[in-house]
């Protein structure tokens, strides 16, 4: 049986139309319930255009002041204490003035500042180099300015660690679980082979709570929306002279420092 050109074209056209409409009908029938459901942001959640933090160093006087803040963060986020600097995992930690603000040191700065520890954490840069280099978008910048980690996507390439000028990222060289003294059942741990860092407590902001370190700091850490002129951080920033870490690199850190010894240097 032969088929002429006209018959063939008719048949081809008909099957194309059937194929196109047919698949959409099948898709419609297979539409699952989950797609029909919605997701919302919690009503209590705190929101901002750009979250930022001011660290008032004069409020940190004793060893205990630093410890309680670091402990608050590390215990709720299940950060392991491996106890060896090579494998160390840290979200918030301290270092000297010289290491915190390289290029800003001189011989004659007050003793109280020269030997004072400074709190360090992820700067949640406006222009984050770690995000640019991540090949899987495991680290990304949220709309509210938080530089976030999606551990599900991290492949452990450590490009972000090389890119971060502030050393804010830690790699899990080994399974962290045996090194967590008390696990917080409400927050996951990490696994061997992923990078982690501070997330500005995104999980607490979603529930309407300020970051854990801010809550524990007795006013030493001020947290708020940098884009809102009426916010607490903006008020503090307009009232005090502040500096940021390595501003010359142009990453635009969102963590500001008020420098003061907290002692009676003016007395």
């Amino acid at each position: 049986m032969s088929i002429n050109r006209r018959e063939f074209l008719k048949l081809a056209g008909f099957s194309t139309v059937m194929g196109l409409t047919g698949s959409s009908v099948v898709d419609e029938l297979l539409k699952t319930k989950a797609e029909a459901s919605q997701v919302l942001v919690d009503e209590k959640a705190l929101s901002a255009k750009r979250w930022a933090m001011v660290i008032d160093t004069s409020k940190f006087k004793t060893e205990e002041d630093y410890k309680s803040v670091i402990q608050a963060c590390h215990s709720i986020h299940n950060v392991p204490d491996i106890g060896n600097p090579k494998d160390e995992v840290k979200w918030i930690w301290t270092d000297t003035y010289e290491h915190t603000f390289p290029g800003q040191e001189n011989e004659y700065i007050p003793e109280g500042i020269k030997h004072k520890p400074f709190l360090l954490l992820c700067n949640h840069c406006y222009n984050p180099p770690c995000v640019r280099v991540c090949p899987t978008k495991a680290t990304f910048k949220r709309k509210d300015g938080i530089v976030m980690m999606d551990q599900h996507r991290c492949i452990g390439c450590r490009f972000c660690m090389a890119a971060c000028p502030f050393g804010a990222r830690s790699f899990n060289w080994r399974d962290p679980r045996p090194f967590i003294k008390e696990t917080n059942p409400e927050y996951p741990t990490r696994t061997k082979g992923v990078v982690e860092k501070c997330t500005f407590c995104f999980e607490r902001l979603a529930r309407g709570l300020k970051p854990a370190c801010v809550e524990k700091s007795n006013g030493g850490l001020i947290f708020g929306d940098l884009s809102d002129p009426k916010s607490e951080v903006r008020k503090v920033l307009s009232a005090h002279y502040t500096i940021r870490r390595k501003p010359e690199i142009g990453t635009q850190p969102s963590v500001y420092y008020i420098i003061g010894t907290g002692g009676n240097e003016n007395a």
């Binding site: 699952t32 319930k33 989950a34 029909a36 459901s37 919605q38 997701v39 919302l40 942001v41 919690d42 959640a45 299940n78 990304f140 949220r142 509210d144 976030m148 999606d150 551990q151 599900h152 696990t183 059942p185 409400e186 927050y187 996951p188 741990t189 990490r190 696994t191 995104f202 979603a206």
Partner: protein, 132 residues
């Protein structure tokens, strides 16, 4: 063929050994895993209902969890409104595992049966197993 008899006998034994597991289990269905749903947390619930229907969860929980993960971590949206309009907090550890506090008798039974090895638990903490 030299030693033909020995070779053929050897081949028959070899084929027998290799196909033994298949032939042995032929026609015998492996026992369906039985899931335990009577955790203390579920017994306390007034209305024993998961975030979606039982049938939907059985077939699609992995897609749902995948969506939940992206919504919570990437989009920052943590409230799930189900097909009946009820609200749930999006969290594997705090919502799913709060009720299903028996990972060994719930998650693991099917996953072992189906030989799937989800890597949720390398980071997410499973609830402490209770004696039942």
């Amino acid at each position: 063929m030299y030693d033909g008899g020995k070779i053929i006998v050897g081949l028959i034994i070899f084929v027998g050994l290799v196909t033994f597991p298949i032939l042995y289990n032929m026609g015998k269905p492996a026992a369906m895993p039985e899931l335990k749903l009577n955790t203390p947390e579920i017994q306390q619930l007034q209305e024993k209902h998961c975030v979606e229907s039982k049938e939907y969860m059985r077939a699609n929980h992995m897609q749902l969890l995948n969506d939940w993960r992206d919504w919570a971590v990437r989009d920052g949206k943590r409230v799930y409104v189900n097909s009946e309009g009820k609200h749930f907090t999006i969290s594997l550890q705090d919502t799913c595992m709060h009720c299903h506090s028996n990972k060994k008798e719930f998650c693991d039974r099917c996953h072992t049966y189906a030989n799937v090895k989800p890597y949720c638990w390398s980071c997410h903490l499973a609830p402490k197993e209770k004696e039942t």
